[in-house]
Symmetry: C2
Subunit: 332 residues, 2 copies
DNA sequence: TGAAACTCTGCAATCCTTTGCAGAGCGCGT
DNA sequence: ACGCGCTCTGCAAAGGATTGCAGAGTTTCA
């Protein structure tokens, strides 16, 4: 029932080759004929079958994106960027959620491989070795993961942490707690690294955790941080920061008067919390777009000269109301 | 470079037909041969090319899902359900975000049509007429949208509203505000309907709005509700409810002592607010799974007898700490 | 022993496009 | 009038898989 190139050819009174060329190499067919063909196609509602085209060109016009967990508020926004940019570049996108599971992730890459021109891996859960192995299955672009000279878009989370540390230092904080996220996570390592480096000079960092990178993890961590006598807390992510604030409120500790709190991610909720949370914003949607750009340019390159394989994205501290000058800079 | 069915055939010393059958109609090839073929395929890392298969079978093994806005926390969860169930049924899923734009949505359906066996439309932004028109382009399943006898999975939001109303009535509230969402939205109409019906007996509902279905819309609405002298507020969704609570806190109105607040959606943030928000939970992930089930069964049906084209999903009131007995049941 | 009845495998057509190659038609110079 | 060079179009193969049909081989039974 769907209309094929043959239908158009017959209706327009030309051969299929001509119809095909009218679409793919317009300058090769006479203006008059081309207009006629295109008009007929339009009238019949013809749209080339991408699968059939892919069979012969070797390009599918699709790309895949794999995320660890859709219900993590971090990912939908990068997905949105991927989606938007892909559509602009006339690619369709396959989505898969690997449920935080590396094995599943590998399976998904392999399942997708034949149907896509390339895959974007968001915060891959694979080990270094596993990643090395799937490289070559298809073109790969990583987001927030660094391995060998794989193409990647990396958020400068270390820089974000530096901004957070400088902000607290400028306010007069001297002893702050870092609430660590999952040990194995690349993001967590980067954040710790950025913080430690920035802190060296004038801030003492006491590191706690790891905690679950969720609201409950934050509630849990809050008490520990309180016992450490710090004046400020930097959480691995906003969810934890929110948990911290909630627990502090329960214990009657006022934020930011008695304790400053900084999050990371700038999830939509951050600005709506009481008090609105100071946090580091990461341009997720931009990251998604950048990944697509990178992938597409990779696909259009002849092979040899690859150009720049890395894209960096700045993070930005958003100062809201959860941070302030400490009452007693040395802790209570 | 990718390994094709021919490679397997050559390597296994059989014809391509046999290899094909070993995969698609195993009982048709002798056990011994089949094992040999399958083993060879495994060894070579062969995976059938779905596009090529689709060309001849007419089935692609893909389905599409279109959402209005990925950054709306409602959708990622249904997406997660779609994704998970699709994978179980061995379908890959195309994702698209139409940016709240009906025209774009239509274009996306058409662009997908050739590449998928069916499309799931989440809370479609199309008008009735537009929807009628795209029906037939491909198999369609709607989520939270009702039109003619199109297959759909519908959340019983009206029922959820009833629960909320009963809850407030039981606490002793007699006059409550409903903060309306977008007028054109099917969900909003359903929620109003459910509330009005449930309220008839013992609650007076004053309807305000429409407001933007976001945090800011809630802040805006809070003052108006306060002026109406109600003892409880039901918001179109959680985002608004959170905005209401934030604004009430600013104005020194204590929740739930002086004002009860009920949300809708049960977004992750709801339970983390202060106080934790009483809200209606909608099984988004289940909805996603149900939509896939419906679509798949639709595809496997011969054509004539279609069976049950509707799936209903119950909503459930989650009572947390933002609702309580009113100080003065008649308002202040 | 021979024929019938199966079971299994291979041939070749088919799905929808793209594309190399060759041919048709035309204009132009000689 | 002829041939050359263009431009444009058509033929047919190719791409990876499925499937109807027919043939090869084996078993069963008379």
């Amino acid at each position: 029932m769907p209309v094929t190139i043959q239908d158009v050819a017959r209706e327009a009174g030309v051969s299929v080759s001509t119809v095909s060329r009218a679409f793919t190499v317009p300058e090769m067919v006479r203006d008059e004929t081309r207009h006629h063909v295109l008009a007929t196609a339009e009238r019949l509602g013809y749209r080339p079958n991408r699968a059939a085209r892919g069979l012969i060109t070797g390009k599918t016009g699709n790309l895949g994106v794999i995320v660890p967990d859709l219900s993590n508020p971090f990912f939908p926004n990068v997905l949105k960027g991927v989606q938007a940019r892909a559509r602009e570049a006339d690619y369709a996108v396959f989505l898969a959620d690997c449920d935080e599971n590396a094995t599943e992730e590998i399976a998904l890459v392999q399942a997708m491989a034949k149907q896509v021109d390339g895959v974007i891996l968001c915060s891959s859960r694979m080990s270094e070795a596993q990643l090395e192995r799937v490289v070559g299955t298809t073109s790969l672009v990583l987001i927030n993961r660094q391995v060998r000279n794989q193409p990647a878009v990396l958020m400068d989370t270390a820089g974000g942490m530096r901004q957070a540390a400088e902000h607290l230092a400028a306010l007069g904080h001297r002893r702050v707690a870092y609430l660590s996220g999952p040990r194995a996570s690349w993001s967590n390592r980067e954040r710790r690294r950025g913080l430690r480096r920035a802190a060296r000079q004038d801030i003492e960092v006491v590191e706690l955790g790891p905690f679950a990178p969720r609201f409950e993890g934050g509630s849990h961590a809050a008490d520990l941080a309180l016992a450490e006598g710090v004046t400020a807390i930097i959480a691995y992510n906003d969810l934890m920061a929110l948990g911290v604030m909630s627990r502090l409120a329960d214990r009657g500790v006022s934020v930011p008067k008695e304790m400053s709190v900084v999050g990371f991610d700038d999830i939509p909720m951050a600005g709506m919390a009481t008090p609105p949370l100071t946090t580091v914003s990461m341009q997720n949607e931009r990251a998604g777009r950048a990944a697509v750009d990178l992938l597409v340019s990779l696909l259009n390159v002849t092979g040899a000269e690859a150009g720049d394989l890395r894209r960096g994205l700045e993070c930005q501290l958003i100062v809201r109301a959860s941070t302030a000058v400490p009452r007693d800079p040395t802790g209570r």
